[in-house]
C-alpha cells in the first residue's frame, strides 16, 4: 500500500517535471472587437494606402464588425481609380482587387479586360516571387469577383515550375533567383501563389510536383520554434507574427486548392493557435491584422481546426460553492462540436492528485462544461488542474484537434477559522502570566494592557482550514504604534499548530527608542487563499521603559512618511575653483603698446647712427645664400610667434631643428662668401 502510494507520488512528480508550464489561452473575445475599432477605423474615414485598407477591412470583416457603410466611399473611389488606370503597379492592382472583394465596389459582368491582360502578362514575364504572387493571386481574385470570365493560365505547369525553382532545400524560399537570401515569410507567399496556380490551371498539374511541395512544407516545419508553454511559431526577419501568419495563410490556401489533403502535425497546429492567442491585443495594425487573419485561417481549413479550452474564472471559492466553468471553442470563439471534457487529475501544491478522472457536465444554454462537486478532501490552496478533451465520433470528419492535456493553475479559497486568539503579558524570567485577555479578532477590541521593560508580551492564535488542517498565512504582522506616530512591525510566525509572537521588551528597548507611553496594537492576517483576511485594532498597551541614555539613537523626528523618500533630494552646491583675477583688458593693451615703444626707439636710434647694409653681397650666389640666411632667421622668429599663439612644444622643436640645420648650411655659405670677399679685398 505504501509502496503504491510512493510510486504514484514519484510518477506524478516526474510527470510534472517533464511537462510544460501551465497556462490558459482565451479565444478572441469582445475586448478584441472593441480594440479593433480603435486600431482599424481611421479618424478621417480614409486609409493611407490600399494595403492598409485591405488589412483593416479584412480584420473588421473577420471579427464581424460592420463598418462598411462609413468607410466604403473614399476607399471605393481609390479602388476604381486604380483598376481603371492602365499604368498601375501589380501590387496596387492586387490590393485594389482584394479591397473590392470585401467592399464590392465593382461587380458583375464588366470585368476590366486590360487588368486581366496586365495580370496575365505579369504572370508570364515575372521573375521575382512578389511579381508572381501579385499577378497569380490577382487573377484568382478576378475569377472570384467577376462572374463572366473564363480565366485560365496558359502554361500553368511552366509557371508552377518557375515558382518552384525559387525554393530551397531547408523549406524556405528565396525572393528572386539572383538574391541568395531566403525567408520563411517568402515560403508563405510561395504557397499561396502555387495554390493560385493549381486553381487556375486548365488541367491537372503533375502530382509529383505537388508532392515535392508537400515535402518542402514538412521540411519547413522542422524549423519551427517553440516556447516552454507549448506555443509554436515561425521566426524570421519580418518578426514572428508576420512570418507565422504568412505561413499559415499559405498552408491554408494550398490545402484548399488541391484534393489529396495535407497532413500537418496536429500538436504544432494547436501550438500555432496558442501562439496567436497568446499575443493578446496587439497595438500595431499590421500585427492585429496578421493575428486575426491567421486565426481565421486556422478556424476554417482543410487540415486541422484547433479547439481551445478556456476558463472564465480560475478561482474556486469553497464558501460560495459555485461550480467551476470550462469553455471549449474554436480560436475565433465559435461553437465547438460535440465533445466531452474530463478532469484527468487535480494536483495540489505538493504534487499529489486530489481529484481523478472526473467527467464535466455540459450546460447547453451557456455552452459551458462545469464541475460542481468537489471531493471532501478538497482544501484551500493552489492546484494544477489537468483537463482532457475527448471528441465525439461525428466531429472527427472535420478534423478538429485539441491539446493532449491542458494544464490550468487554479486557486481554491475559503474561510479560515481563527481560534484561541489571546494576548498576555508575562513576567520575564518566571514566565508567569500577569494579565491575559482573550481576543475576538473579528471585532475591534478595547483591550488595555500595561507592561514595563522587564516583562514580555505574547500573542497567539490558531488558524485552521475548512478541513481542519493547520493553516500558515502569507502575512501575519503585529504593529505597535506610539502616540508620536512612531511605528514598529513584528512578524508572527507559525510554530507547529499555532502562530505565536513573543516580544521581550528588555531586548527591544533600544529598538523602541526608549519611548514610554501608550502604544496601539494592530494585527494583520492575510493570504491569497483566505477569504476573510483581517486587520484588527486589538487595543492599546501602556509601556513603561527606562530613560534614554546619552548614546542611544533618537526616534525619527518626523513621522516616517513612506513616500517622502521618493521626493526630490536636497540641492547639491558644487564648489568650483575660484578663477584667478585677471587684470582689466585695457591695462594689458596699454602695456602691450608700451613694450613696443623701446623697439621703435631702437630702430630710430639705429637710423640716427647711420646704420647701412652696404656690405650686402651683390653677386648672385652670395646674395642668395645671404638672403636665405636672413630669411631663415626671420622664419625662426616667425616660428616663435606661432609657438606663442598656436603650436605646442613638440611641433615647434621639430620645426626648429629643421630650420636650425638649414640655417647652419646657409650661414656657413654666407660666411665663407664674406670671408672670400674680404680676402679678395685684402689681397687686392
Amino acid at each position: 500500500m505504501m509502496a503504491r502510494c510512493l510510486a504514484r507520488f514519484l510518477v506524478s512528480l516526474l510527470a510534472l517535471a517533464i511537462c510544460n508550464a501551465a497556462s490558459v489561452s482565451h479565444p478572441i473575445s469582445d475586448s478584441h472587437r472593441s480594440a479593433a475599432l480603435d486600431v482599424f477605423v481611421p479618424l478621417d474615414g480614409s486609409y493611407k494606402s490600399l494595403e492598409e485598407a485591405y488589412e483593416a477591412l479584412k480584420s473588421l470583416e473577420i471579427l464581424g464588425i460592420d463598418k462598411k457603410s462609413d468607410l466604403s466611399s473614399g476607399t471605393c473611389e481609390n479602388v476604381v481609380k486604380v483598376l481603371a488606370s492602365p499604368s498601375s503597379a501589380l501590387k496596387d492592382v492586387f490590393y485594389a482587387l482584394s479591397v473590392n472583394g470585401i467592399l464590392k465596389c465593382k461587380t458583375g459582368e464588366d470585368v476590366p479586360k486590360d487588368i486581366v491582360s496586365k495580370l496575365q502578362a505579369g504572370a508570364k514575364d515575372a521573375k521575382l516571387l512578389l511579381d508572381f504572387y501579385y499577378s497569380i493571386r490577382g487573377l484568382v481574385l478576378v475569377k472570384e469577383q467577376f462572374s463572366g470570365t473564363d480565366l485560365t493560365l496558359g502554361d500553368a505547369e511552366a509557371i508552377f515550375r518557375s515558382v518552384k525553382a525559387l525554393s530551397q532545400s531547408d523549406g524556405r524560399w528565396r525572393y528572386s533567383s539572383n538574391n541568395a537570401e531566403s525567408s520563411t515569410f517568402a515560403a508563405g507567399l510561395a504557397f499561396e501563389t502555387l495554390a493560385g496556380v493549381i486553381s487556375l490551371a486548365p488541367s491537372e498539374i503533375d502530382q509529383s510536383l505537388i508532392q515535392t511541395v508537400k515535402t518542402g512544407i514538412l521540411k519547413l516545419f522542422d524549423s519551427i520554434q517553440k516556447y516552454d508553454d507549448g506555443t509554436f511559431y515561425f521566426d524570421g526577419s519580418e518578426g514572428p507574427i508576420s512570418t507565422t501568419a504568412s505561413v499559415i495563410r499559405g498552408l491554408t490556401s494550398f490545402a484548399a486548392s488541391e484534393s489529396t489533403g495535407l497532413n500537418l502535425p496536429g500538436d504544432k497546429i494547436v501550438g500555432l493557435a496558442k501562439f496567436f492567442l497568446g499575443v493578446g491585443i496587439p497595438g500595431d495594425a499590421k500585427d492585429f491584422f496578421n493575428q486575426i487573419d491567421a486565426l481565421a485561417c486556422l478556424e476554417d481549413n482543410r487540415f486541422s481546426v484547433p479547439l481551445i479550452l478556456s476558463l472564465p474564472s480560475t478561482v474556486i471559492s469553497l464558501t460560495k460553492k459555485e461550480p467551476l466553468k470550462v469553455k471549449v471553442s474554436t480560436v475565433l470563439g465559435s461553437k465547438a462540436p460535440a465533445l466531452s471534457v474530463k478532469l484527468a487529475e487535480a494536483l495540489n501544491s505538493k504534487g499529489s492528485s486530489v481529484i481523478n478522472n472526473q467527467e464535466l457536465k455540459f450546460d447547453a444554454d451557456s455552452a459551458t462544461y462545469f464541475l460542481d462537486s468537489f471531493p471532501k478532501n478538497f482544501d484551500v490552496g493552489k492546484y494544477t488542474f489537468v483537463f482532457e478533451i475527448l471528441l465525439d465520433e461525428s466531429a472527427n470528419e472535420k478534423g478538429y484537434i485539441t491539446e493532449a492535456q491542458t494544464k490550468v493553475p487554479i486557486a481554491a479559497t475559503g474561510a479560515i477559522g481563527i481560534e484561541n486568539a489571546e494576548i498576555a503579558v508575562l513576567d520575564s524570567d518566571v514566565g508567569s502570566i500577569e494579565s491575559q485577555k482573550k481576543l475576538d479578532l473579528t471585532k475591534d477590541g478595547v483591550v488595555s494592557l500595561s507592561a514595563n521593560h522587564l516583562q514580555k508580551l505574547r500573542l497567539s492564535f490558531q488558524l485552521t482550514t475548512p478541513l481542519g488542517l493547520v493553516f500558515k498565512p502569507h502575512q501575519a504582522f503585529l504593529k505597535l504604534k506610539h502616540e508620536s506616530q512612531v511605528e514598529h512591525i513584528f512578524l508572527v510566525k507559525t510554530y507547529g499548530k499555532k502562530a505565536e509572537l513573543v516580544l521581550d521588551f528588555l531586548g527591544l528597548v533600544e529598538k523602541l527608542y526608549y519611548l514610554s507611553g501608550k502604544y496601539e496594537i494592530q494585527l494583520t492576517i492575510g493570504d491569497a487563499s483566505m477569504e476573510n483576511s483581517l486587520l484588527s485594532n486589538i487595543g492599546h498597551i501602556e509601556l513603561d521603559l527606562p530613560e534614554r541614555p546619552e548614546k542611544a539613537p533618537l526616534p525619527p523626528l518626523h513621522p516616517t512618511d513612506p513616500y517622502s523618500r521618493y521626493g526630490p533630494k536636497s540641492e547639491i552646491s558644487h564648489i568650483f575653483r575660484v578663477p584667478e583675477k585677471l587684470p582689466a583688458k585695457q591695462l594689458s593693451l596699454i602695456f602691450l603698446g608700451l613694450i613696443v615703444l623701446p623697439f621703435i626707439a631702437f630702430l630710430i636710434g639705429l637710423t640716427r647712427l647711420g646704420v647701412n647694409i652696404k656690405s650686402f653681397p651683390s653677386s648672385v650666389g652670395a646674395a642668395t645664400s645671404a638672403l636665405l640666411f636672413h630669411g631663415g632667421i626671420g622664419a625662426v622668429l616667425l616660428l616663435y610667434v606661432l609657438f606663442w599663439l598656436k603650436l605646442d612644444l613638440f611641433t615647434t622643436l621639430k620645426a626648429l631643428s629643421l630650420l636650425g640645420v638649414f640655417l647652419l648650411f646657409v650661414g656657413h655659405r654666407t660666411l665663407s662668401n664674406l670671408a672670400a670677399a674680404s680676402n679678395k679685398l685684402k689681397s687686392a
Partner: protein, 107 residues
C-alpha cells in the same frame, strides 16, 4: 656747495658724452640694442608689479629672455671691441665674422 656739485655733475656728464661719441658705430649699435632689451625687461617688471604675477611663467620667460639677449650682446661687445686687449687670445674664433656668427646662433 650745491652749485658746485651740480656743475661737477654737468661737467662729468659732458665729458662722458664726448668720450662716448668717440666709440665706433658698431659698438654704439650693440649698446643701443642692450638698452632696448633692458628697457623691455623693466616694463615687464613694472606690469607684473601692477597686476600680480598670475601667469608667473609668462613673466619669467619675458624678463629672462630680454635679460639673456642683453647679456649675449654685452659678450659680443666685449669680443668685438678692438681696444680690449685682454680678450684677444681667449676667443674661440679670432675672426670678427666668426664672433658675430656665434652671437647670432646663440641668440
Amino acid at each position: 656747495m650745491v652749485k658746485s656739485t651740480s656743475k661737477d655733475a654737468q661737467d662729468l656728464f659732458r665729458s662722458l658724452h664726448s668720450a662716448y661719441s668717440a666709440t665706433p658705430t658698431n659698438l654704439k649699435i650693440i649698446d643701443l640694442y642692450v638698452v632696448f632689451a633692458v628697457f623691455t625687461a623693466l616694463i615687464q617688471v613694472a606690469y607684473m608689479a601692477l597686476v600680480g604675477s598670475f601667469p608667473f611663467n609668462s613673466f619669467l620667460s619675458g624678463v629672462l629672455s630680454c635679460v639673456g639677449t642683453a647679456v649675449l650682446a654685452v659678450c659680443l661687445r666685449i669680443q668685438v671691441n678692438k681696444e680690449n686687449k685682454e680678450f684677444k687670445h681667449k676667443t674661440v674664433v679670432t675672426n670678427l665674422r666668426g664672433i658675430v656668427a656665434m652671437f647670432v646662433i646663440a641668440v
